[in-house]
């Protein structure tokens, strides 16, 4: 198991070529995992031939299929985008290419990012590499499965309510959701515009930091992107000193006993390093899921209005143009997306908007203020990343309420726009389980540094052996 920097050393010393690494990675693509929608071997080989020198030179990266790569189909796991090939690349893709990174393929997701299991996809579910009967998490399950099974060194996902951190937790990986505005959203197919961030799923904190440094930074094409200075996120050797980490009591209710134990193990390990832990309370935690639902569904209902078959995608002919659009959308969307669009339309409708959307917006500010206040007492928060490890495929498919349960841990950070990272806490039987750290705006370096500290003290033993190369 090598890190990005280690691979680069190997390339320099000519102990391995980028082509070797690419071919080894592609060999590890297991169709039964169903992690990939499109494998981009030709594009990757072409990329290698260009021999671009950069921090990501020769590193095979998997890309969630809601991030555009020019000339490669983007499906968002939806029939509504049948045949769609974008004529432009996302800003993050261009930045990766300029740094020499190459792409193994577009990975599976819950349709348009809506789900927590990567089951609601038009190509069917992705399986968890640790246990093929379990979900890999979602919605960035394909990216997590690709990295956990070794077909990519690192991957991009997107996180609107936890879609990078939860799969990372279920697949024994590090998953970072940056501060809102840290990474450009230009080229990411929008789901919940005020919540979405492109995130990174990798095998260790340093890798995630190296990739973050390449993709982060102001983009004039994204008016919500931040001018805040990009730090050297890959340089994590300074262990943060005099840290105070809060344990919010609300996040430790209704979780599996073993999850509690695993997270507490992490706490105990780093307490020895002189980090102070403090009990804190975040009373608005119980309102996170409904608030997140109202806001994300509302934005989704608007963002998905463009899928009408007129300019691209699936078209089902009807009697008149209204009929054509309505039929196309009905046929193109799977049921979860339809549910969310319908509720989103409801909470924005004139009769309901004040009670629902506008109210949720106010509660969002309360939630944000609560995080603000707690960060006056502590520097970070430690919580479980998910209340349980990966659940069985099919267990929650018909239960839209239960599907949102893991979001309780993660969606708060999206609502407040603050950064959060999930990392492996250990194994529960055959399955990995993750812990989560939440931080102040633009403190990705601090978060990743703590993860690195944990890696040094209690290195994760659960990486899949077959995924590791020679």
């Amino acid at each position: 198991m090598k890190t990005i920097l280690e691979y680069q050393e190997q390339f320099k010393k000519e102990e391995m070529t980028p082509l070797d690494l690419l071919e080894k990675s592609l060999e590890k693509i297991d169709p039964s995992l169903n992690a990939y929608i499109t494998v981009t071997e030709e594009l990757a080989r072409k990329g290698l031939k260009k021999d671009i020198q950069g921090k990501l030179k020769g590193i095979p990266i998997a890309i969630k299929d809601n991030i555009n790569i020019k000339g490669i189909p983007t499906t968002c796991a939806s029939n509504v985008l049948k045949g769609f090939i974008p004529p432009f690349s996302a800003t993050v893709i261009e930045r990766i290419q300029r740094s020499g990174g190459i792409f193994t393929g577009k990975t599976n997701l819950d349709e348009f990012g809506m789900g927590s299991s990567t089951e609601r996809s038009n190509i069917g579910p992705t399986k968890n590499p640790y246990d093929l009967t379990k979900v890999p998490g979602g919605s960035s399950g394909g990216s997590a499965a690709a990295v956990a099974s070794g077909s990519a060194v690192i991957s991009l996902g997107s996180d609107t309510g936890g879609s990078v951190r939860q799969p990372a937790s279920y697949c024994g990986l590090v998953g970072l959701k940056p501060t809102y505005g840290r990474v450009s959203r230009y080229g990411l197919v929008a789901f919940g515009s005020s919540l979405d961030q492109i995130g990174i799923i990798g095998r260790n904190a340093e890798d995630v930091g190296v990739l973050l440094k390449v993709i982060a930074g102001y983009d004039p094409k994204d008016s919500t992107s931040s001018q805040s200075k990009v730090e050297d996120y890959g340089n994590l050797n300074d262990t943060p000193k005099n840290l105070r980490i809060g344990i919010p009591e609300e996040y430790f209710k209704q979780i599996d006993e073993e999850v509690y134990t695993s997270v507490m193990k992490i706490k105990k390990a780093i307490e020895k390093e002189g980090i102070l832990f403090k009990s804190v309370s975040l009373p608005t935690t119980g309102y996170i899921i409904p608030t997140y639902q109202v806001i994300s569904y509302a934005e989704a209902s608007s963002n998905l209005a463009r899928y009408d078959g007129v300019r691209y995608g699936l078209r089902k002919d009807g009697e008149d143009f209204h009929d054509t659009i309505r039929k196309s959308r009905n046929e193109g969307f799977l049921s979860e997306v339809k549910r969310r669009i319908l509720i989103g339309s409801f909470v924005l409708s004139s009769e309901a908007i004040a009670e629902y959307y506008e109210r949720a917006d106010l509660i969002r500010r309360l939630i944000t203020q609560e995080f603000n206040d707690v960060f006056k007492e502590v520097d970070y928060l430690l919580t479980p990343a998910t209340p349980t490890p990966a659940f069985p495929i099919g267990e929650r498919t018909d239960d839209p309420i239960r599907m949102h349960v893991p979001d309780r841990m993660t969606a708060g950070a999206n609502l407040a726009g603050i950064p959060a990272v999930a990392a492996p806490a250990g194994m529960i039987g055959k399955l990995p389980i993750g812990y989560q750290l939440i931080g102040k705006p633009f403190d990705e370096k601090g978060l990743l540094s703590i993860v690195r500290l944990v890696e040094k003290i209690v290195p994760f033993q659960g990486f899949i052996k077959e995924a590791q190369d020679g």
Binding site: I67, N68, T74, C76, L81, F84, P86, P87, F88, A90, R185, Y186, G187, L188, V189, A190, S193, S194, P220, K221, D222, S223, T224, A298, E299, S301, S302, L304, A305, R306, Y307, D308, V310, R311, Y312, F321, H322, I325, S345, L348, S349, S350, I353, Y357
Partner: protein, 462 residues
């Protein structure tokens, strides 16, 4: 028929004079081949985000200032959600609760029309309809539009047209929009209601699809008739969208608004609040010119007649020059004569106000004749030399010195004894002959007015 009061409010959409579209760098020009000015953003492809055009903001602020509005230092964009093939995102980015400008007014023939709001939004695409299908061209999609809404302060179709013409002139004058109605750059949607009862407004209808000022007037007149007839019959006027037929000259109900569309407005999450600094507003304010209507009123006060005041005020370069010259010499009527006759016939050329004023001064002081002045003006336009220079070079100075002129007159009298006798005998018209002779003798330099005066006095004395 009982006395019905008409109430009209008008909503105008005008295309802004920017180089690029509102949220992307595609050219905002029109008339090109279909779908040649389109990019991923104005096509609404998955993954795109809007990027706001600074010039469009500037022009909207300018329009707000020209209409005496309050400019808000913080305004918000919103999504207006509805489905139509010419709306690529399935929503239009516009402004809803927090527009750029509110609370303005326009003076119109002594009345004040209040402007409710001025805001910025994007245009939709264009569709052409064939027998069995419609064709869509996204060139126009995303072009910046300004929306100007009045309070219901207009009370007749004539006033509505007067308002529209004035607004159009302002937008053109301030270079905010070319506002050509035929090119769909200036669209108006009046809403109108009639009512017998004092203080109570009737149900209003909205007239759409109007392509000329004539259509505006005629459609409103027809709508007044239609509504009054409906009420006289004891029926109620329904809220509806009204279309107008050029052929019949009549309006008809196109769509009843029983269920108005629910646009589900919410703040645009892809665009943070727009902050406009007071400094920037002040800069833009300095560039706002004075409106033609106000200029005309000013000129009337200076003593110009209606026709002259109207002419000068309606031309930007002319009026500017006129006012510059007046700052140097305070002779509005004299200057206006020069502007209207000589300057405009030269085609409104570039000329320095100082030189122009200097030349007029010289004429007023009798240093050169009026004709000479016209010659100097033409020469100044050609060469840009100052008038004193030109007069010297061309030897145009007038002889105003009374002694010199009296001498010249005496000489002419000596040379023309018969005519002198006839003049003394009462043939007044010979004054002209003598003036002409003096002019010939002085090679045109004599001041003909002065010569004429001398001859008349001499004639009187003798």
């Amino acid at each position: 028929m009982a006395e019905y009061k008409t109430t009209i409010g008008i909503e105008v959409h005008a295309q802004l004079k920017t180089v690029t579209k509102l949220f992307c760098g595609c050219p905002a020009s029109f008339g090109e081949e279909a779908n040649t000015n389109v990019c991923s953003i104005c096509l609404g492809l998955p993954g795109v985000l809007p990027s706001l055009n600074k010039k469009a903001v500037e022009l909207t602020v300018k329009a707000g200032l020209a209409l005496n509005c309050e400019i808000h230092t913080r305004s918000i964009f919103a999504r207006k959600n509805y489905f139509y093939p010419d709306l690529p995102k399935g929503y239009q980015i516009t402004q809803y609760r927090f527009p750029i400008a509110t609370g303005g007014k326009i003076s119109l023939e002594g009345r004040e029309i209040r402007i409710k709001r001025v805001h910025l939004e994007e245009e939709s695409a264009k569709s052409i309809h064939e027998k069995d299908k419609s064709l869509i061209d996204y060139n126009r999609s995303g072009v910046p539009l300004i929306e100007i809404v009045t309070e219901p302060d207009i009370d007749s179709p004539d006033m509505a047209v007067a308002y529209l013409k004035t607004l159009q002139k302002i937008l053109q004058f301030e270079n905010i929009s070319d506002a050509v109605m035929a090119r769909a750059e200036f669209r108006c949607e009046p809403n109108i209601s009639v009512s017998k009862e004092k203080g109570i407004l009737g149900t209003r209808t909205e007239v759409k699809n109007l392509n000329s000022f004539k259509a505006v007037k005629k459609s409103l007149l027809s709508e007044i008739d239609r509504q009054t007839e409906t009420l006289e019959k004891g029926k109620t006027v329904e809220q509806a969208t009204i279309h107008y037929s050029e052929e019949t000259g009549k309006t008809w109900v196109a769509r009843i608004k029983e269920e108005s569309s629910d646009y589900r407005y919410f703040p645009e999450p892809d665009l943070p609040p727009l902050l406009i600094s007071q400094t920037w507003i002040d800069e833009i304010k300095a560039a706002v010119g004075e409106l033609p209507v106000r200029k005309k009123e000013k000129y009337l006060e200076l003593g110009l007649n209606e026709k002259d005041a109207k002419t000068i005020s309606s031309f930007t370069t002319t009026s500017r020059l006129f006012e510059e010259i007046l700052k140097i010499i305070d002779e509005p009527i004299e200057v206006s004569k020069w502007i209207l006759r000589d300057y405009r016939s030269l085609g409104e050329p570039d000329i320095s106000a100082e030189n122009f004023a200097e030349m007029i001064k010289m004429v007023l002081h009798g240093e050169i004749s009026r004709n000479a002045g016209a010659e100097v003006l033409a020469e100044m336009v050609k060469t840009n030399k100052n008038p004193k220079q030109i007069v010297e070079e061309k030897n145009l100075s007038q002889i105003s010195d009374t002694n010199a002129l009296e001498r010249a007159v005496r000489e002419i009298f000596e040379e023309n004894p018969d005519e002198l006798t006839r003049l003394k005998g009462g043939e007044q018209k010979l004054i002209g002959f003598f003036v002409g002779q003096v002019m010939k003798k002085t090679a045109g330099k004599a001041d003909p007015k002065e010569v004429s005066r001398i001859i008349s006095e001499y004639e009187k004395k003798h």
